[in-house]
């Protein structure tokens, strides 16, 4: 699926998906990212404190932090407002 999303939309998708711990492969598959860009997005969210990484031997899992909830709710509000405040299309 070739879709165009903004980085903020991708951050939101990752954070919502990582409400429960997820592996790197699961995240990039679900969010339709390649491993290079997926790694960049995860590292960025990790550096900002929105994601935390847990290592269990060879395996790593990623989970959204409490701080992420703030971003998720703000993003959700902004995007839903696009339908609430702008008159929609009707035939």
């Amino acid at each position: 699926m070739n879709i165009r999303r903004s980085p903020y939309e991708i951050y939101w998708e990752i954070l919502v998906y990582c409400k429960s711990p997820r592996s790197f492969t699961a995240i990039i598959n679900r969010c339709d990212l390649n491993s290079k860009t997926g790694q960049e997005y995860l590292e960025f969210l990790l550096s900002r404190g929105y994601l935390s990484r847990t290592r269990d031997g060879e395996k790593s899992t990623w989970v959204a932090t409490v701080r992420a909830a703030e971003y998720i709710s703000l993003f959700t509000e902004i995007y839903q407002n696009l339908f609430d405040t702008i008159p929609g299309f009707r035939l």
Binding site: I3, Y79, F89, R90
Partner: protein
């Protein structure tokens, strides 16, 4: 708030789905009529009352109609694919839609619009062009019909150009209406895109998210 937003989102998506579906049907009709009129123009109407210039002119216009119809169907199918995927998801959803699920659909439709913005604009142009060509074809049919109004020949042969004119004028006017609907849809989504990018700036600033 989510329920109300979902209702708006669903109504809008359904409206757009119907528009694209009807548009696909009209594209197919354009192709079919284009082909049919090519045959009737090249072979001439039974009895051959009309001149070669008219037949040649309607033949060329019919060929243009066929080409436009083909491009029309292809573009509609491309747009329909993304809309159908989201519609399928919300039809499957039996529980009340959560804010996150709804936002996910909004993000997908937004990405779909970004990806297909040019196609939708192209569709507006095709509908306008198609509408004009069909209107021209309809007017030519009317002229053909008026010139073919001789007392000789059966009533059916005299009526035939008027029937063709009615079909062409109807398709032409509907296509022009479709183009205004596509323009309206584009305007709504362009407005949303502007709002979203303004809001994303606010999001970036308030949460300190700034990807270098």
């Amino acid at each position: 708030m989510t329920e109300e937003t979902f209702r708006r989102f669903r109504n809008e998506l359904n409206s757009f789905f119907v528009l694209v579906l009807l548009n696909t049907a009209f594209g197919a009709l354009t192709m079919a009529f284009g082909m049919q009129f090519i045959v009737t123009s090249v072979l001439g109407l039974p009895g051959g009352q009309t001149g070669i210039v008219f037949r040649l002119l309607t033949g060329i216009l019919s060929l243009v109609c066929f080409g436009i119809g083909f491009a029309w169907v292809l573009a509609s199918a491309r747009i329909l694919r993304g809309v159908t995927a989201v519609r399928r998801d919300y039809k499957k959803c039996t529980e009340p839609v959560s804010g996150e699920i709804l936002t996910g659909w909004i993000v997908r439709i937004m990405a779909h619009y970004r990806k297909n913005r040019e196609t939708i604009q192209w569709m507006t142009l095709i509908c306008t062009l198609g509408g004009c060509v069909f209107l021209a074809l309809g007017i030519l049919n009317l002229v053909q019909g008026i010139f073919a109004l001789s007392p000789s020949g059966s009533a059916w042969i005299r009526i035939l150009p008027f029937v063709a004119a009615a079909i062409n004028l109807t398709i032409g006017l509907t296509s022009l209406r479709f183009s205004t609907w596509f323009r309206k849809y584009s305007a709504v989504w362009d407005h949303r895109m502007e709002e979203a990018s303004r809001s994303e700036d606010a999001l970036k600033k308030s949460l300190g998210i700034d990807r270098e």
